[in-house]
Symmetry: C2
Subunit: 343 residues, 2 copies
Amino acid sequence: MVNYTDNPATIKDIAKRLNISLSTVSRALRNAPDVSEETRQAVLSLSQELNYQPNRLALSLRQNQTHTIGVIIPNLDYVLSQMVRGIDEVALEAGYTVMVCQSNESFGREILNTQRLLESLVDGFIISVSSETKSFEHFKKIQDRNLPVVVFDRITPHLPAPSVRLDNQAGGFMATEHLIEQGYKRIAVLAGPDNLGISNSRLDGYKSALKKHKIKLDPDLILHCDFNQDYAYYATQELLAMKKRPDAIFTISDRMAIGAMLAIKKKGLQMPTDIGLVGFNNEPVTGLVTPSISSVEMPSFEMGKAAAKLFIETMHNKESANNIEKILPPKLIIRESSLKFSV
Amino acid sequence: MVNYTDNPATIKDIAKRLNISLSTVSRALRNAPDVSEETRQAVLSLSQELNYQPNRLALSLRQNQTHTIGVIIPNLDYVLSQMVRGIDEVALEAGYTVMVCQSNESFGREILNTQRLLESLVDGFIISVSSETKSFEHFKKIQDRNLPVVVFDRITPHLPAPSVRLDNQAGGFMATEHLIEQGYKRIAVLAGPDNLGISNSRLDGYKSALKKHKIKLDPDLILHCDFNQDYAYYATQELLAMKKRPDAIFTISDRMAIGAMLAIKKKGLQMPTDIGLVGFNNEPVTGLVTPSISSVEMPSFEMGKAAAKLFIETMHNKESANNIEKILPPKLIIRESSLKFSV
DNA sequence: TTTCGCACCGGCAAGGTTGCCGGTAAGGTT
DNA sequence: AACCTTACCGGCAACCTTGCCGGTGCGAAA
């Protein structure tokens, strides 16, 4: 016996066919009490026969929640793809659907995205902010509506919320200390935009490694540039043109490391002998280029899972979890670009 | 003057405050006729003051459409990320929101995803099928409900629907012909799983290039393996261990090209002199490794946009557009791995 | 016999929006 | 004076589901 109508069956159809009320059918389907075993069985079997599926729209309208999470991310590069996969994984498990919006690192687009997701009545947000973002008014709207927010990866003090992030300082520290231990003396940094916490933390790690090893900080060796291969290329050319050029470069991302590598090669310098290089993120490409590039690995997939888990927790007890901050450890992957001596 | 309640304002609130009926407010907001200019202005200004935003849930329930597109893709690698960005772009413009689900190349997961998206009452689907998928029952459910479907990239005759794809045969052809013109005689292919149309088309292109240049097809030179770097690595080792080993390899994806490259290097052979190599997709990594790898470029971002546009069209006149098939041209990017003579 | 408790069930309203229809008043037409 | 048009507006139902409350009938206890 099949569905009689084109439209999906509703509770009403079942009620009519069984000559009982809507309420009873509803109760039967939800395993609520106040239904005799007999009618429950009848309802259940008929609902199967009609291939009944509850209408999520009506349910959401009634219960005022959509079981949907809005995810805003700056792009879909390697790292973020992994994170999204992690979020997806956990969300699916918990019965949530995910709406992913890319801001493309654009402030205006990010505003538009939040707008759209708010209109879609998502139950909350998981956010990694765009590098362009310096004002946070659009996110306040979210919290005004009392919706849970979890920030991850790129966090910022301007958006207080439970967060999941890498221990970026530790990452910067281990990259720098590694270079120091390999005998490099003048270590430059290609940092990101200076409003980006993620970049500044890695920079802090760099600084504290220098401090620990009693190396004087040279401000000329710190360059802020866009999170981008081309900018890094030009910035590196500048670095290499200095009178006392650096003998190692730590870049805040692998994209930038690639840019640096290209500039170094163009200049005719050899890694690791003439100059050392360490990147960040451990994208697969770092292991494939020649020389292979050392990089700080972050557990992206795990971070995504952690963010989604934290979101679900925050969802379930809104107040308590407000100051939670999950910090995951990085791991240095040493490759040819920085390995003067074997370890 | 601010919102008086915690909850977002509804049409009801406006009606009450202005002492008019819900219907009138609704009409005023939708710029429908039958509203005096005076009351319309009153409604509009009050709705701004209260920061009224229509409740999409109620709207969707009423109008039986959610303005949401379900997107199912096998993963979020470089190419698919670009495509998703293209889809996003067009969908946003057209007032649609996108729900992206990754099947992770898993058949079971793909079923689950369609299930979930159907429950979410998406207005239709944009699909690129998993490589594992050999049965298509789960997609039939979609078409049973008369929802529009557009397939892209990985299309299959088992799922008839308007489609957007690369001219894969042309891609395979130009890659192969290029190798032939460079003087390679024994050209091997690393193909994907043999149920994957995308792979078979590229293979067809390979075959017709051989035919055109009167080169006998050697079945031993065609290897099917998983779409995956490691498998390609082992497959290439096999190829290189043959008595009469191939002097060029065309791989159906860049991932596989990387695997092949590693195997070639391990064996101590030189590209392009000892052996030529051409990949597919033109992922950025192909331009960064040494030697850089020639690859067939596909306009991923444009394909995503085209898919979304086609979806919207299909949406608007359900019947007519059923047999549309948009085919985009590939472009060969020649790099060191296959360039014996300059062009 | 009355009262109570229990097991089961139905009606109504609400959630926010729109489509359809009917209604009113003012003005114009025959 | 009777009728029609026009411009505007409100009521009701529907989309689908659930929560609350108010039943009904029956057996058991007082």
